[in-house]
């Protein structure tokens, strides 16, 4: 019964979305006031029906309703309650329903917080979001219905992939989707701006908070994904240049460019059509990401053939959305004129260069991600583009970007001079050089050029950001939210860069064979394997090792890496043991038994790896603080 209600609610939501896509848009051209006013109500209606639908699916998971095919294939009687709930978005159909629900949530949020927006404008924004929603709801109902019934009810389900049974991954997809879908707001505003042919400072003040919030969620989502891969996959890396990861990095890179370009458009009225282009691109890349991850095209272009309709549908939808918006852009963007010029040495130039760097990096990532797929689709050979490509291309470009980032943050709008900049940063530069060149040689085991450049630039970025706060010459409460936010985000980026510079170069990694009682020395730590014991848990069997870690003869940690075999899917899983610290992580994973009393072990020493995620969280915090800037509230308070 509940699944039927969910299905029905989904159909009603689609009806609402169809009206929402057509009625307000048409009315906005005809000046039909009653039609324009419906936008809010249709969006709320769609949201309510999607909530009902989502609640029904969750209920089916909690009550183990295995008559529903999706529940039977992703849940199981013995699954803990938390993972029954996260199982709702643990596979294709449910995650798309979550996508649609979040899109609807964003639409309602726009209705609530943009009351001062001219009604015609709001109607068009809501309409564009409705159109996207129609696309996803048709896809859900026709090709990936989460409420599809099985002809018989199995006694038990196939269970959630053990890899996904993890609290970090339970919240990773919702965060990521909040980010992906959030760019839809900036996209809808950009399309509306193209239709009206006008962009002013007020438009930017509407768009900026939405873009920041979306970017904030996306940053948290990517960070969670990276952290999860680190401790759950048992590989100990934090980024693998996997196509799925790249799919989330692409909108992030272009979204970052968008945030910076919006700053120029708001303050100086310049870069208007570039900003619109970035807004369209970031959402298009979000759609592309969804397409790549959800169509099965990544396992193989030919896996497409197992369910060609799904992949084909998303591809067509992608082409319609991207094609229409770019056509509209080509037609209307010449009417968006910049209001001011700027000199060669100015903050505008700095931000333009930042944008070029970010877009170039995005293009390189896109090339490495799509080229193998295209080649495979054309039957021109099977290739893979691994981390060596991405590292070789992106590291130098990124270092160039960081250099501009440090100087750019201290530039003034419109016109500045090298001599002033030099005066501003020369002392900071000395400190940064000490931190980057002198400290590592005193303190780290060896010397590495890339690491040194990375640390110097990270220090400079952080110092410039910190001193910017002091230079405001105001009390802390008077400094605007956007200055706080930008500084904190830049400090966060600096911390991430420092973490990457050290971890990537100074990590120790070793696969080793150890007998009980034997030890292995690494980076001043001694790892001693005591033994490995067997025990049974609720839904898996485990072998747990005990490794004692000594530093200078002192016992500093007892680590318990595990090897699990899940009962239902019979997959072995490695649960690494991690001794986390602010300056270093120790990481031990069990390999396989080699004879009666020895095992293969994977041992890592990862200095500063926490800084990568800590910095990313600071970036997200910075974006959130910038949203709280007074000037965004002022526009809201005017009505």
């Amino acid at each position: 019964m509940t699944p039927d209600i969910g299905q029905l609610a989904l159909i009603f939501a689609l009806l609402m979305a169809v009206y929402q896509a057509i009625l307000p848009m048409v009315s906005s051209f005809k000046g039909f006031q009653a039609g324009i006013a419906t936008a809010r109500y249709l969006a709320s209606g769609q949201f309510i029906f999607l909530c009902i639908s989502f609640a029904c699916l969750t209920y089916a998971f909690l009550t183990d309703d295995f008559s529903v095919k999706y529940v039977a294939s992703t849940s199981n009687l013995s699954l803990p309650v938390l993972y029954k709930i996260s199982g709702v978005w643990g596979a294709h159909e449910g995650s798309l329903l979550l996508w649609a629900l979040i899109l609807s949530l964003w639409t309602v949020a726009v209705c609530l917080f943009s009351r001062d927006l001219p009604a015609v404008y709001l109607a068009r924004v809501i309409s564009v979001m409705g159109f996207i929603s129609v696309g996803f709801l048709i896809f859900l109902l026709a090709l990936s219905n989460p409420f599809e019934k099985l002809p018989f009810t199995p006694a038990d389900g196939r269970s959630l992939n053990p890899l996904l049974q993890d609290p970090g991954l339970a919240i990773h997809p919702p965060m990521l989707y909040m980010g992906y879908v959030g760019f839809c707001v900036a996209f809808a505003f950009a399309i509306s701006a193209l239709i009206s042919g006008k962009i002013d400072a007020l438009w930017v003040r509407w768009v900026r908070p939405w873009t920041n919030i979306a970017w904030c969620f996306l940053t948290i989502g990517i960070t969670l994904g990276s952290w999860w891969a680190y401790y759950e996959l048992g590989w100990g890396g934090w980024w693998f240049w996997d196509p799925v990861e790249n799919a989330s990095l692409l909108p992030w890179l272009v979204g970052t460019a968008l945030i910076h370009s919006l700053a120029v458009t708001e303050k100086r009225g310049a870069f208007k059509s570039w900003t619109v282009l970035l807004a369209i691109s970031s959402f298009s890349l979000s759609l592309l990401g969804t397409f790549l991850v959800r169509s099965g095209v990544l396992t193989s272009v030919h896996a497409f053939a197992t369910d060609p309709s799904r992949g084909l549908y998303i591809l067509c939808f992608l082409i319609i959305v991207v094609g229409t918006s770019f056509l509209l852009y080509a037609w209307r963007s010449p009417s968006l004129k910049s209001e001011s010029g700027f000199h060669f040495i100015s903050r505008e130039t700095g931000l333009l260069v930042n944008n070029i760097f970010l877009v170039t990096i995005a293009a390189c990532v896109l090339l490495g991600t799509l080229y193998p797929l295209i080649l495979d689709a054309l039957d021109a050979g099977k290739i893979s583009v691994g981390p060596p490509y991405f590292n070789a291309v992106i590291v130098p470009i990124a270092l160039g970007m960081f250099a501009v980032m440090a100087i750019g943050f201290s530039l003034r709008w419109k016109n500045d001079s090298f001599s002033r900049i030099f005066k501003r940063i020369r002392i900071l530069l000395v400190f940064a050089l000490i931190a980057g060149l002198v400290l590592p040689s005193l303190w780290l085991s060896s010397y590495n050029v890339y690491s040194s450049i990375g640390l110097t630039l990270a220090s400079l970025i952080a110092l410039v950001a910190v001193t910017t706060i002091y230079q405001q010459k105001k009390s802390y409460s008077q400094i605007s939210g956007s200055v706080w936010g930008a500084s904190i985000a830049h400090i966060g980026m600096a911390i991430t860069i420092a973490g990457i510079s050290i971890t990537a170069v100074y990590s120790h990694e070793k696969d080793i064979r150890l007998s009980y009682g034997e030890n292995y020395e690494m980076a001043g730590y001694s790892f001693k394997l005591i033994d490995v014991t067997q025990h049974a848990e609720k839904n898996y069997q485990a072998s747990t090792g005990l490794v004692e870690v000594f530093q200078k003869g002192q016992l500093i940690a007892q680590m318990k890496p595990e090897k699990r075999v899940y009962d239902i899917q019979n997959n072995p899983m490695t649960e690494a043991a991690i001794d986390a610290g602010f300056f270093r992580d120790l990481f031990v994973a069990l390999g396989e038994p080699l004879g009666a009393s020895s095992w293969s072990l994977r041992i890592y020493h990862k200095p500063f790896i926490r800084w990568i995620w800590l910095g990313a969280l600071l970036m997200a915090l910075g974006a959130a603080i910038a949203v709280a800037d007074r000037r965004y509230r002022k526009t809201a308070a005017r009505t």
């Binding site: 992939n161 170039t360 893979s384 291309v393 064979r513 997959n571 072995p572 390999g591 396989e592």
Partner: protein
């Protein structure tokens, strides 16, 4: 040319050269780091490159896994049902490595024709077959049935 135009020109030149440099960089390392996939039959036929990393995939032959007693070095046979090659690897095999299942290895050939793997990949799904492996198995199956 007035001053303003000169500056603008300088700016555009900087921009274009910057983009050109990064494009060259990208394409060059793209070419250097592409890795092709070869099934065991292609390797036996001498189609695989020497001294260049590539990927090989196939089924691990049952009972072919041999470990050295005092290290983490091991050897196994990899087949595409038509030809078989020997793979040597030092390290920990992935969780889902099992005899009889499809895997992909990345590495180089040595002088004796043994594939020295730097990395062995098995996907996290017991029913999953790497698509490259599935394709090469399928084409060999067709060849065999055509011959008979």
């Amino acid at each position: 040319m007035n001053n303003k135009r000169k500056k603008r020109l300088l700016f555009i030149i900087l921009l274009v050269s910057g983009v050109a440099i990064s494009a060259t960089l990208a394409l060059q390392s793209f070419n250097e780091n592409l890795m092709y996939f070869y099934p065991p039959s292609d390797i036996k036929a001498g189609k695989a490159p020497v001294d260049h990393l590539f990927r090989v995939g196939g089924l691990v032959v049952e009972n072919s896994l041999k470990r050295e007693n005092d290290s983490l070095t091991l050897e196994f046979l990899l087949t595409d049902q038509a030809n078989t090659i020997k793979v040597r690897y030092t390290g920990i095999l992935p969780d889902l490595f099992r005899e009889g299942q499809g895997i992909i290895a990345r590495g180089k050939l040595d002088a004796k024709g043994v594939f020295i793997a730097e990395e062995v990949l098995a996907k996290h799904d017991e029913n999953y077959m790497p698509p490259e492996v599935a394709d090469s198995l399928k084409s060999n199956h067709n060849k065999v049935s055509n011959d008979s």
